[in-house]
């Protein structure tokens, strides 16, 4: 079945089964592999993208429910790593293996849109992405730093 979806500002036509999760449409039809698969059951956040600005776990969102929503993936967050979250991540050297980091960054970016100055508690309750390498404290620090960068931008 054909679907026309809006990803990173461009309309894309894909021909997939209606139950195909957005994650696999992004990765396999559009070739945007920055969005990762890890659990497939909305338990880890590696597949986080923005759907109309909201952090969404794309592994459990069938394409048929996406409609005309604006999708943003890590590739569309900025073209040059200039997003404050990416800048803060580089400054603090957050990633270890890096596999969970696209999801972390997308979740962080969505949080800061909604709440430009989140408390530690708010961060921990909102950015619930898992990291097997254990970068949690740097993720927290990174979000705080990104909030500062954003405020002064």
């Amino acid at each position: 079945m054909e679907f026309t979806i809006k990803v990173n500002g461009a309309s894309q036509v894909v021909d997939v089964d209606p139950d195909t999760p957005l994650l696999w449409v992004i990765r396999e039809e559009l070739g945007l592999t920055g969005t990762k698969y890890s659990c497939g059951i909305a338990a880890c956040g590696a597949c986080t993208v923005h759907v109309d600005g909201e952090a969404t776990r794309s592994c459990v969102l069938p394409i048929e429910f996406v409609g005309q929503s604006e999708i943003t993936t890590i590739e569309g967050l900025s073209s040059d790593r200039s997003h404050p979250v990416q800048q803060a991540w580089l400054e603090i050297d957050v990633p270890q293996c890096g596999y969970c980091q696209s999801g972390q960054i997308m979740a962080a970016a969505a949080l800061l849109e909604e709440n430009p100055n989140p408390s530690d508690e708010e961060i921990k309750e909102t950015v619930t992405n898992l990291c097997r390498c254990g970068t949690y404290n740097r993720v927290l620090k990174g979000i705080k730093r990104a909030a500062e960068l954003k405020a002064t931008a």
Binding site: Y99, N129, C131
Partner: protein
Amino acid sequence: MTQQQIFELDRRTFTKLAGGAAGGLMLGVTFGCSDQGQKLQGPPVTINAYIRISPDETITLINPAEEMGQGVRTAMPQILADELDARWDQIFVEQAPLDLAYANPGMARPAQRTSGSMSVRYYFTPLRQVAAAARDMLVRAAAEQWGVVAAECETKDGFVIRASDGAKLSYGTLADAASKLEPSDNPPLKSPDQFTLIGQSLKSVDQLKKVDGSLEFTIDIDLPGMLHAALAITPVFGGQLASYDESEALKVKGVRQIVPMKDAIAVVAERYWQAKKALDLVQVTFEGGDSLGLSTEAIYADLREGAEQEEGITFRDDGNSKELLQASQQVIEGTYVVPYLAHASMEPLACVAKLEGETCEVWTGTQSIQAAARSVARFLDVPTEQITIHTGPMGGSFGRRLGADLEIRAVEIAQAAGAPVKVIWSREEDIRHDYYRPAVAAHFAATLDEQGFPEALDLRIATYAMGPPRGGRADSRVVGSMSDMVYHIPHVRFGYVQREQPIPVGSWRSVARSHNTFFSESLIDELAHKAGHDPLDYRRALIKETPRLLAVLELVAEKSEWGTALPEGHGRGIAATPCFDSFVAHVVEVSVFKGELTVHKVINAVDCGIAVNPDIVVQQIEGAMIQGLYAALHNEITIENGAVVESNFHDYQMLMPWEMPEVETHIVQSGELPGGIGEVGTPALAPALTNAIYAATGLRIRTLPISGHELS
């Protein structure tokens, strides 16, 4: 010191390898700000097996260690660039191809392997030697050009400089002439006070690609004409495919074929999602299996019985603990049990294979390129030369990718499909088909002297080994860390009881120490409390002969204000261990209220010798410590009727952000040669944590995970 840092380097290491160095997967990325790849103005010049210098001044390190998040793509070139006197922003890194010239000098039998925290630990001196050899050749080339003696030249920032007048020749312009010179024997190495890059917290390589999603993991690889496969392996270990009905699955759009294997079935489709969806529609039955009927209860009972009632193989026996324990009326004893653990890397297992005629190419994240190549060659019954393994970064591994099970699966499926295939393990398959950290039981019996210090100790561990007993000797991957237990106890006996079980086991972060440090650091704590001693003072008295361990212990004690009063319901626990030639200690502070455990703070101290990149050292200690933390809190692989019960992150949990304690890490600068770092933070965390729970509640946790206990 047990460290062996004097290596006889293979002569080939200093020479250009025929066809080797340029053949691997090109993973070169720049450090610093630019990420544009090499802009060559002429062909790069191979100086030796590890170093290529281009006319455009870029220098490529052929990196022998695989990256899985532990920072070797940063630390290794840092070592090399320092000794070469190169600028950091001119260094590129490329992964070594299959060639024993890159074998890890720490391996008893030559092999390229990234495990056991052995990269910086064992390549530190060899990398410096190859860099010093290259620098020496560049200097001699410049001296020749200038008509001066080499002693009149120095090197800095990628240039050879003539001392008399400061004239400069760049490495790029000298490379060709230098490569034609014979390497000298043992060119001198820098002294540590001359280090410029070693010891700096340089930003990790590949970070740019890790923040914009462009770093390509194996799961992201796409080849022309590549198909995708989803896999279901028999849930019972050793089971076999009995029957299957593919009719419904074949109706799914994009599905090309069903591939039956001896113990598994795969669906091959144009897209992974199609394959995965169709796999659920295959009516499949498996039969038999070696683990059929087995449960974790039976396993734990068997291990407990082994540890408590059998003597096993004695692998250390000092003094006469047996007689003393038999004669004593006041034996303190207890049994500890730890569960199977999965690796559950964030990137699920994935592998790409492509066969063409007699040759086979494999794209994989592996800790052991040799094992992958040899196993695939054996499977295809072709010479190893016909196999090319392209290695790439791993989204975690922790010991999982040491074997070659994933590569063989991918090759078998690609062979059946007649096209390049990428196989992705679903998370469920990944967790249910691991090589697990073995379940282990330990029984200890001890007596104390008049001052309350241990006089005799008998400690036996029972487990399922990673291989058959070799000539009656205990498997070092299981007992390794026991035999070098550092506490001064006059009479000790360590025994190893080996049981057979068909559950596949393998190395997990910190290998034997992941369980043995829990046993030893818990039982020492038990004995300290029994004797009425402070657990810190008790350890101080028993490790006098290991000053580096004592130093990290003192440091965490100081930073945690050990001994000061804590609020009601709170407790501090301490633990320390040597680990892969490094030394680590933790103090954990917890509270328990109405049965609810909160981990407030963890203070780490490490002495890893020269910290090549202190910030990565901190990252690794904290990351490994957190892995130790959530494993101790939550993780257990259970078996029911021969199959693994857990399947995904809902029942095999990582840490949730709100469980994250405050963390502080301190590095002791001992100046010794580098020890390991990737695994060092894991083993002593669990006992520091359970010792803290004891301090807070009086409850001694002898079985993990902690989530299995009522803490009220």
